[in-house]
């Protein structure tokens, strides 16, 4: 008997953290403990979260598979479903379908230097992979993180940024857009691509994982090629509109790829074969 692939798990909101004025991180626990124990996912996969009565929306799973006693997602308040999510309180219930999509190629990253380049809420999928690598720190080379946002108040995961900065096995480069700094800000001031070039990580035996607003990705890619990174070394995850997450509804189809099945993680080399429709 086939299962109804559209029926969501019911999740209870375990905790809500206000990251910025319009971004919250939700920590969700399965209502059915059995579903919790045999739930597996990989860094880079996403889920389709829903508020009953308002609808569904896809978000990357923001926590690491190595800490999977819960599911976290960071949501920016922009539309109908995200609005409804932001209205919810701890203990309320939401729907979740997943995990969907192709994860980050973490096994290809073993033994290599990793450069994380994030912008704004784009840090969410990167956070999942970063914690995953830090929990298996010895299997990776140098880890550099370049993360920026419009202003200090727009930086997400503030405690974790401090925690990562305190570690000696991670090089943290934080920046805010010009004009976004405040008097206590000690990090860089400048757009992510320029700060990335200043940090100038070496392309040798390295891979870059980047996620952020399309405008940032566009210029980051330019900087990376200037710094000698080849397209197959650059991995990104697309913010394409998805709906079913199962390759059926046709909404995320670009070229021969269904972003929800063949992605959302793509190497820049793969992206270059797809039409410019994302």
């Amino acid at each position: 008997m086939m299962t109804n692939i559209y029926k969501p798990y019911v999740m209870a909101i375990d905790s809500i953290r206000q990251e910025t004025s319009d971004i919250k991180t939700f920590r969700l626990a399965f209502r059915d403990p059995a579903a919790q124990t045999d739930f597996r996912f990989k860094a880079g996969q996403f889920g389709v979260f829903s508020v009953f009565g308002q609808g569904e929306a896809p978000f990357g799973i923001a926590n690491s598979p190595t800490r999977s006693e819960y599911i976290e997602c960071s949501v920016k308040r922009v539309g109908k479903v995200t609005d409804a999510l932001h209205e919810l309180n701890e203990g309320d219930e939401v729907g979740f379908r997943g995990p969907y999509g192709r994860p980050f190629p973490i096994d290809q990253m073993e033994g290599r230097n990793l450069v994380f380049v994030g912008g704004g809420i784009g840090m969410a999928p990167l956070r999942s992979l970063l914690w995953n690598c830090l929990d298996r720190r010895d299997q990776f080379g140098d880890i550099t993180v370049v993360y920026g946002a419009r202003s200090v108040a727009d930086l997400v995961y503030q405690q974790e940024l401090q925690e990562w900065s305190a570690r000696d096995d991670v090089e943290m480069v934080l920046t805010v857009d010009p004009g976004g700094e405040d008097e206590r800000w000690s990090g860089e001031v400048g757009f992510v691509p320029t700060v990335l070039e200043k940090a100038n990580p070496s392309p040798d035996n390295a891979m870059v994982i980047t996620c952020g607003p399309p405008i940032m990705i566009k210029f980051v890619l330019v900087s990376l090629s200037k710094m000698g990174f080849a397209p197959e070394q650059i991995i990104t995850t697309l913010e394409m509109k998805m709906k079913c997450g199962l390759g059926k509804c046709g909404r995320c189809n670009i070229g021969p790829a269904y972003v929800c099945k063949h992605g959302p993680v793509f190497s820049y080399e793969e992206l270059m074969t797809l039409p410019e429709e994302y």
């Binding site: 009565g53 308002q54 609808g55 109908k80």
Partner: protein
């Protein structure tokens, strides 16, 4: 006092699908439910006065306050009529010439007249979409309007599934 319902129409608010038969009307006598859109400056003040001076009038009406009768867009009336429990709508504004915004009620007058004609042509009895001029001092008139409309709609019977079943609308 006047029970007001903020115009907070939650998106996607539609109760049960109409594909299922609605549950049978409760045993005791059916009471019509009427949504009233009142302009803030005259009619709402009038309704407030009626409430303040303890004027008795049927409680079938749910009042929604809007800045002016011209702001009462037919989509609001349509959305109200779509609701499973609603049987009629009253749109009330200032008397012509008294409009706080000078000409709002003139536009509303034309608009509601045409909307009523459209509803009638689609088969919804014109008595279910009523309009009135009620000034800030006419608390008593507001009570009469509600009473009369409630009677008329009670005569028409419920607008929703039961209505098509036993066609209470008599011409």
């Amino acid at each position: 006092m006047v029970a007001t319902v903020g115009l907070e129409v939650r998106s996607g608010v539609e109760s049960r699908t109409s594909t299922e038969a609605a549950p049978p009307v409760q045993a005791q006598e059916w009471k019509p439910k009427i949504v009233a859109f009142l302009c803030n400056w005259c009619s709402y003040a009038g309704a407030d006065l009626a409430g303040g001076s303890r004027t008795k009038y049927p409680a079938n009406v749910r009042i929604i306050r809007l800045p002016c009768s011209a702001r009462i867009d037919p989509k609001l009336v349509l959305k109200s009529l779509e609701k499973e429990g609603v049987d009629g709508v009253i749109v009330s504004g200032c008397h012509p010439g008294d409009c706080h915004y000078t000409e709002g009620n003139y536009y509303a007058r034309r608009r509601m007249l045409m909307f009523r004609r459209l509803m009638e042509f689609l088969g919804i009895d014109g008595k279910r979409v009523q309009m009135s001029w009620v000034s800030a001092s006419e608390g008593a008139k507001w009570a009469d309007v509600v009473a009369q409309v409630t009677e008329e709609i009670k005569a028409l019977g419920p607008l929703h599934p039961q209505e098509t079943a036993n066609a209470a609308d008599h011409q």
